[in-house]
Symmetry: C2
Amino acid sequence: MRRSQITIKDIARRLSVSSSTVSRALRNHPDISIKTKKQVLCIASEFNYQPNGIAQSLKNMRTNTIGVIVPEIKHDFFPTALDGIEDVTYKAGYTIIVCKSNESYGREVLNTRALASNRIAGLIVSISQDTQNFDHFKSLINQNIPIVFFDRACNEIDSSKVLVDDFEGAFSAVNHLIERGYKRIAHLAGPKHLSISQSRLNGYLTALNKHNLPLRDELIIHGGLHRIDGRTGVKRLLTLEKRPDAIFAVNGPVQFGAFMQIKGEGYKIPEEIGIIGFSDDPISSLVDPPLSTVGQPAYEMGAAAANLLLEEINHKEDFFEPKIQILKTKLIIRQSS
Amino acid sequence: MRRSQITIKDIARRLSVSSSTVSRALRNHPDISIKTKKQVLCIASEFNYQPNGIAQSLKNMRTNTIGVIVPEIKHDFFPTALDGIEDVTYKAGYTIIVCKSNESYGREVLNTRALASNRIAGLIVSISQDTQNFDHFKSLINQNIPIVFFDRACNEIDSSKVLVDDFEGAFSAVNHLIERGYKRIAHLAGPKHLSISQSRLNGYLTALNKHNLPLRDELIIHGGLHRIDGRTGVKRLLTLEKRPDAIFAVNGPVQFGAFMQIKGEGYKIPEEIGIIGFSDDPISSLVDPPLSTVGQPAYEMGAAAANLLLEEINHKEDFFEPKIQILKTKLIIRQSS
DNA sequence: CTGAAAGCGCTAACAG
DNA sequence: CTGTTAGCGCTTTCAG
C-alpha cells in the first residue's frame, strides 16, 4: 500500500488547470492570479499536499542536504561539533544528514557512497581511526561535491579543513605535567597514520626534549581512539618494570578509558599517576578526581567547517581555493595532574 | 559548475547500446551477455559511475532510508539506542538518517517534514519534551509512512511503541530510597503531558503511599528534561524551609544537573542528600560518588523499535496491527543513595 | 495569466 | 540477448 500522497497533478485535475499552474501557484509565482493561488493552496492544505523532495532534487540536480560523517557520538566532542554545524547550516536553509562511521573505514565508505547517491550538496567529515585510503573522498570531489574536513583531516586531499593547534595543545599539556614534577610521562597515542596523532606526538616529544627528559619508546603506545584503547594501553604501561608516573592521552575516549583502568587497578590520581588528555567533555569535571584536559572548541570547529562548506557550495567560479582554519586549544587544569 | 557525474546514458552512448541495456548490465540482469556486461562494468568503473539514488527513489516511489528523530545525543541513552537501530536496519539493507529535535517541538516538526519530503520508508522517533501536538506525525501516517515510537511515545497515535516499565522502575527506585531510610523524597518530574513523566510520577507516588509517607506537593517539581532543569529544580528544593533528604530524577540529564547542583552547593551525597534517577549512562559510575540509577536497556529498545518498523514496512496487507513492547528496567544501586 | 511539452536519471513492460 | 517507450513528480522554457 505505498503511494497515496497527493501530487501536483491531482490538484491540477481537481481544479481543471495544468500542473504548471499548480506548480507556480505553490511557489507563489507572480504570474498566477490571486484567485487561482487561493484555490490551489486551499486544495493543497485540504489534502495535506507535501512536495516530493525527491522529484524536486532530481529536477534541480542538487539537494539542500549536507552530509556529515563523524566517527562516534558517545562523547561530547562530536555532538557539540554537530550543534555548531547544525546551527550554521539550518540558518542557510540546509538540512543535515548525520552518519556515524563507528571508527570503521568500511562504514565510512558505505556512508560516503550513500550520501553521494543522494546527491548531497556537500560533505563535512572527520575521518575514522582506520581510514588510510581516501579514494571514496576523491571520488566525491570528482563529482564536484565539496568536502570540508574537521579535527581529523586527510593530508592527501586538497580541500578546506578546520583543525586545532594539535602540536601546541599537546606541548602545553606535557609541559604542564613536567612542571608539576612528573618524570616518566607516557603517551597513549593514536593510529600512526592520522595527522592528529602525529602532531600530538610531536608536541609530546618536543616538550620532553625542552626539559631534557629522555625519550623512552616503551612509554609511547600507539593504539586506536576508543575507550578500550585507553584501558589496554594503561594495562600494558602498568606491567612495565618502571611504570610511568603520568599519562598524556591523545583524545577524550582514550583518556576516559585510561582513567577508568588506573582507578580500577587502585592507583591514586594524581599522587601516583597523573593524567591529562585532549577532550573537552563536561563530564571531565564531574569525575573523581576531575580531569585536566586540553579543551578543544568543538562548537566553533563545527560552525567554522559549516561556514567553509557553504562558502564553497555557493562559490560560482570554477576553482575554489581551499582554506585551512586552525583554532586554539585551551589548557584546563583540574585535579588529575 | 554542478553536473559532471556520469550517467547511464553516457555509458550507453559510448558503447552504442541503449540505456536499458546498461541499466540491466549494471544490475547484473541474466538477459545480458557476459561480453556486454563486462564492457559496461569497465566503462562504469573507468568513469567512476555512481547510480543516482534520487532518480532510483523517484522511480521506485520509495527509498531505502529510515528516518530517526531523537531529542538529543549528548547523553548516553539516545546514542546507544541509535546503535541498536543502526545495527538492525543496516542488516536489512536500509540507511538511517538521524535528526535531533534538540527537545524542541518546532525542530521536530521541521525534521518530520524534511524526512517526509525525502519519502523515507519509515520513521523511528522519541518525541521532544515540548511536543503536545501530533499533527505532523498523523500526516506522515496518512501518507502511509509507518512510525514507531520509543521511550517517549504519543498516546494519541495508534502505532507501534517500545517502552520500558516506567512505573515499575520509578517505584523500585523510590522504594529503595525509602528502605535506605530517606523520608523527605523529592521528585524532579518531567513535563506533565509526557507519558513517561506521568508513569514515573505514579511510581513515585505509589511507593510513598505503600510506606505511608505523606505526599508533599512542594517536593514534586515539574520541569523540562535538560540538565539545566535538574539544576534549577534542586535550587528551588534547597530553598524550602524543610529541604528534601533525597531526590528521584525523571531522567539522566536531570539527574546529572541535580547532582552537579547539589555538589556545587556543598551538600554531601548520600549522607545529606540521596539521589537516584532514570538513565544508564556509563559515566554515572565514574562520578564522585557513583550514581544509583534505574537502568534502561537503550540498545535493546532501539533494536526492538527497528525490528517493529521493518516488520511494518514489509507488511503487505492493508492493515497492520500496531505492537507495543515493554522492556524491563534494572535498579542499579551505587553510592549516591 | 495559463497551458503544452520536454526532460532530470533510471527502470520495467513489451516487443522484437 | 537488446531496443523502444513510457513514466515516476516536478520545474521550466516557450508559446499562446
